[in-house]
C-alpha cells in the first residue's frame, strides 16, 4: 500500500501531472502581516522572526489522463497548498511539477467574484482571469448561465446572491472550459441536493472524457465512489497512496487514534 503499483492500462502515456520531491516552505517572517516598524526592528536585530516551516515536503506522485485522485488528510495537512502548487499559484521551494494539458482550478468557489458586478459580468471577468479566450467565454456564456441555474438573477450584482448561487456559478465557470486537468478543493459539498447531483454528473463526465482530476475533499463517499486513487497526507508528507477504500480506511483509523489521544484528560 505504501508504494503504489504501476497503473495498468496506460504504460506508454505521459502522466498529466508529474510531481517529484515537491516541497513548499513558508517563511514565517513573510507570512506574518508586516509593518515597516517590525521589519526595521528585525533588520536591526538580525532576527528572522521565527524561521520557517514546510507546508509540504518530499511529495511525489503522478496522475495520468482519465484518473481522478483524491487527496485526503486532516486540516492543515497541506492539501490546499498542494493544489495551489499544482495550479502554479505557489512556486515550489524544491522539487518539480510538470503539467501536461490545460488546467483549470476551482479552489474556493467564487473567490474571485467581484461583489459589485453582475453574474454575467463576473463570468466574463473570471474567464479573463483564468486566461480563457474572450470569444470562447462569450460562446459558452449561455451554457454557463444555464448550468448554474441562476435564472433572472444573472444580471443582478453578485452581492445579492445566496452562497449556494455563488458556488453554483463558480462551479459552472470552472468546469465549462473543457480542462484537461481539473483541480477541485472541497467544492462538491455545495449547493442543494439537485445541484450536487448535477455537479457530480459533470465531474464524472469530465473524468470520463480523459481528463485528470485532483480533488481535495472531506467527503469520504466521494473518494470511494468516484475516485480511482487516493492519497493521504499529514503534516505535509505523503502517508499512503493507493486504492481509495484502503486509504479511506487508513485515514479513518488514524483520525480515530488522533481523536483518542487528544481527549486524554489533563493530569
Amino acid at each position: 500500500m505504501a508504494s503504489p503499483a504501476p497503473l495498468p492500462g496506460a504504460p506508454d502515456r505521459q502522466p498529466a501531472i508529474d510531481v517529484q520531491g515537491l516541497g513548499v516552505r513558508y517563511s514565517l517572517r513573510l507570512t506574518r502581516k508586516n509593518t515597516l516598524r517590525k521589519s526595521l526592528a528585525q533588520l536591526v536585530r538580525r532576527d528572522d522572526g521565527g524561521g520557517h516551516f514546510w507546508a509540504l515536503r518530499d511529495v511525489s506522485f503522478n496522475v495520468i489522463h482519465g484518473e481522478s485522485l483524491a487527496v485526503i488528510g486532516p486540516n492543515g495537512a497541506g492539501k490546499s497548498t498542494l493544489l495551489q502548487s499544482l495550479a502554479g499559484i505557489i512556486q515550489p521551494t524544491e522539487g518539480e511539477i510538470s503539467i501536461r494539458g490545460r488546467l483549470s482550478s476551482l479552489l474556493t468557489l467564487g473567490a474571485g467574484f467581484d461583489q459589485e458586478l453582475s453574474g454575467r459580468e463576473n463570468i466574463l471577468l473570471a474567464g479573463a482571469f483564468l486566461g480563457i479566450d474572450d470569444s470562447e467565454i462569450q460562446r459558452r456564456l449561455e451554457d454557463i448561465i444555464a448550468f448554474a441555474d441562476i435564472g433572472q438573477f444573472i444580471d443582478a450584482a453578485i452581492k445579492t446572491y445566496s452562497s449556494g448561487m455563488r458556488a453554483r456559478l463558480g462551479f459552472s465557470i470552472a468546469t465549462s472550459v473543457d480542462p484537461d486537468i481539473l483541480l477541485l478543493d472541497e467544492v462538491l459539498a455545495t449547493g442543494d441536493q439537485v445541484f450536487r447531483a448535477k455537479s457530480k454528473e459533470r465531474v464524472l463526465e469530465l473524468a470520463k472524457g480523459a481528463k485528470a482530476i485532483v480533488l481535495v475533499t472531506h467527503d469520504m463517499h466521494w473518494v470511494t465512489e468516484f475516485c480511482n486513487r487516493a492519497m493521504l497526507i499529514e503534516r505535509g508528507r505523503v502517508i499512503a497512496e493507493g486504492q481509495p477504500e484502503e486509504i479511506v480506511r487508513l485515514h479513518e483509523a488514524r483520525s480515530e487514534e488522533a481523536r483518542r489521544s487528544a481527549v486524554v484528560p489533563p493530569v
Partner: protein, 268 residues
C-alpha cells in the same frame, strides 16, 4: 531584462482582462452615489473653489485668472494621486483571487492606473466649460498638446504605481504613508503657485527649491500650465528629461514587481 519582456507579454496577452478590470472599476466608482460619474466633473471644480478662496481671498497672493491657473494643475494632480492610491491597494486588495487563480499580477496595478485616465478625460469637461465661459482669451492651439504632457505623466505614474503596489503587499504602511507624502508632494510642486515663487524660495532656502525642481511634477505641472494657461508650447527639454527618467524608472519598477510576484500568494 527577461523579466521585463515577460511583463510586456503578460500585459499584452491579458489586455482583455485589463479592459474588463478598467470597465468594472469605472462602473463601481460611478455606482452608489447620487450623481454617479458627475463627481468626476464636480470634484476638481470644488477643489479649485476651495483653493481659490484660500489663496486669493485669505492669503491675497493671486495670479491673474487664478482659477484657471490652479485648475491646470489640480486636474493632472488628482489623476496622479487617485491613480497611485488605487494602484497601492490593487494587489493586496485581491488577496483572495491571487490565492485561487494563477494570472500575471501586473495587470492589477496597470488597470488601476488605466482606469484613472478616463477620470482625467472627464476632467476635460469642466476645463472646457471654464475656458468657454470665463477665459475665452486663453483658448489657444497649445491646448492640443495636453495629451503629450499626459503621456509623460502616465509613464511616471505607471512606474510609481507598479512599485508601490508590490511594496504594499509586504508593508501595509505604504497606504498610510502615501497619503501624507502625496499631500506634501502637492504643496511642494508648483500647483497653487507658479515657478516664479520657487525662484524666490531659492534665494532663502536653496535646498528646498532644489528639491522642488528635481521633482518630476515640477516639469509636468509647468508643462500643463504652459499649454492650458499660458497658451505656449511646454519646455520640451525639461519634459523630455522627465520622460527619460520615467522610462528607466518604469523598467526598474516592473523588474522589481516581477521579482517579487512569485511570493505574493504566500504572503497575502
Amino acid at each position: 531584462m527577461g523579466l521585463i519582456r515577460e511583463a510586456v507579454g503578460d500585459v499584452w496577452s491579458r489586455r482583455q482582462l485589463i479592459r474588463y478590470l478598467v470597465s468594472a472599476d469605472l462602473k463601481k466608482k460611478g455606482r452608489d452615489t447620487l450623481f454617479g460619474n458627475v463627481w468626476w466633473v464636480l470634484d476638481p471644480l470644488l477643489q479649485m473653489g476651495v483653493y481659490v478662496i484660500l489663496v486669493s481671498v485669505i492669503f491675497k497672493r493671486s495670479e491673474p485668472d487664478y482659477a484657471l491657473f490652479i485648475f491646470a494643475a489640480i486636474l493632472p494632480w488628482k489623476w496622479f494621486s487617485s491613480a497611485i492610491g488605487d494602484a497601492i491597494t490593487s494587489v493586496s486588495g485581491q488577496d483572495r483571487l491571487i490565492k485561487q487563480v494563477q494570472f500575471p499580477k501586473i495587470v492589477l496595478p496597470v488597470s488601476a492606473i488605466m482606469a484613472g485616465i478616463t477620470q482625467f478625460a472627464f476632467g476635460m469637461v469642466p476645463l472646457a466649460v471654464l475656458l468657454l465661459l470665463l477665459y475665452q482669451d486663453r483658448i489657444s492651439p497649445a491646448l492640443a498638446l495636453i495629451p503629450a504632457v499626459a503621456a509623460v505623466q502616465l509613464v511616471f505614474t505607471l512606474a510609481f504605481g507598479v512599485l508601490l503596489a508590490a511594496l504594499n503587499v509586504f508593508f501595509r504602511d505604504i497606504g498610510n504613508l502615501s497619503r501624507h507624502v502625496l499631500r506634501m508632494w502637492f504643496y511642494l510642486s508648483p500647483a497653487l503657485y507658479g515657478a516664479a515663487v520657487i525662484d524666490e524660495v531659492a534665494t532663502s532656502h536653496p535646498t528646498i527649491a532644489g528639491l522642488i525642481k528635481v521633482n518630476p511634477f515640477y516639469s509636468i505641472l509647468n508643462a500643463y500650465r504652459s499649454v492650458i494657461y499660458g497658451g505656449t508650447a511646454p519646455d520640451w527639454a525639461a519634459l523630455g528629461w522627465v520622460l527619460g527618467v520615467s522610462v528607466v524608472f518604469l523598467l526598474v519598477a516592473v523588474w522589481f514587481f516581477k521579482r517579487l510576484e512569485p511570493t505574493f500568494a504566500k504572503v497575502l
